[in-house]
């Protein structure tokens, strides 16, 4: 029997879902409201030097990679299911496009992090 690669996508979906459920609210608040407005967190938290230093070390790279990539894989699977629910795509081509885009974004994120 041909082995399915579905479990890989479901694992990535689950990991992204848990990560978003556990720290999504705080992340959105800090990056989108707190730091830009100087609420609760220091506005200097997201300055160039701070973030360059954070992304310059292994732990920082891992955090940034996990958040971006897992959120994207999580969303990709659900968007594909949503399209299927509306009778759009749902076929192999749509899945290839969706997962292909997520894979490209993953490689691009890794490439950017290696530059820092």
């Amino acid at each position: 029997m041909k082995r399915s690669h579905e479990p890989v996508f479901w694992s990535l979906f689950g990991a992204g879902g848990i990560l978003a459920a556990l720290c999504g609210v705080a992340l959105v608040f800090v990056t989108g409201l707190g730091a830009p407005l100087g609420w609760i967190v220091s506005p200097r938290l997201m300055e160039f030097d701070t973030l360059r230093a954070f992304a310059g070390q292994g732990f920082g790279k891992l955090v940034i990679f996990a958040v971006i990539v897992l959120f994207l894989w999580h969303a990709t699977l659900r968007i594909l299911l949503l399209l299927h629910d509306f009778g759009l795509g749902g076929g192999r081509l749509t899945r290839w496009i969706g997962n292909g885009l997520a894979l490209l974004a993953t490689i691009f994120t890794a490439y950017l992090l290696l530059l820092l």
Partner: protein, 141 residues
Amino acid sequence: MSARIEPGRTDPRRPWRRSMRGWWHRNPYYLRYLAMEATSILIALYALILLLGLWRLTEGEAAWAAWLAMLKSPVSLALHAILLPVFAFHSYSWFRIMPKTLPAIEWRGKRLKQTTITALGIAAAVAVNLALLLLLAGVQP
């Protein structure tokens, strides 16, 4: 399971098939399901905003400053104000569904109730979010 009919060919038995058109407003539960699934689009959007930020970070200080200025724009602030309840809703629905996806868990000889698992999950989400917020609030670069 009936055999698949190839596209463009009609089944000679002509079985009745319920139309799927407009299925989402047949039942309030379906609408709630759709609201839950639609959050995934905004989660993807948030990830793409962060990816753009990472890209700008690699391009140097001026590019990064432009991305920060974009974050301070009213459109971005409004978007993040919408993203906040969306992520909270994701968190709630994630832990509401989680017990249904897990095998039965026993605790002191009794099966753990679904509502207990949901409550524990939400408590964990509140704790982790608060801890992260306090940690970042304490950072003084």
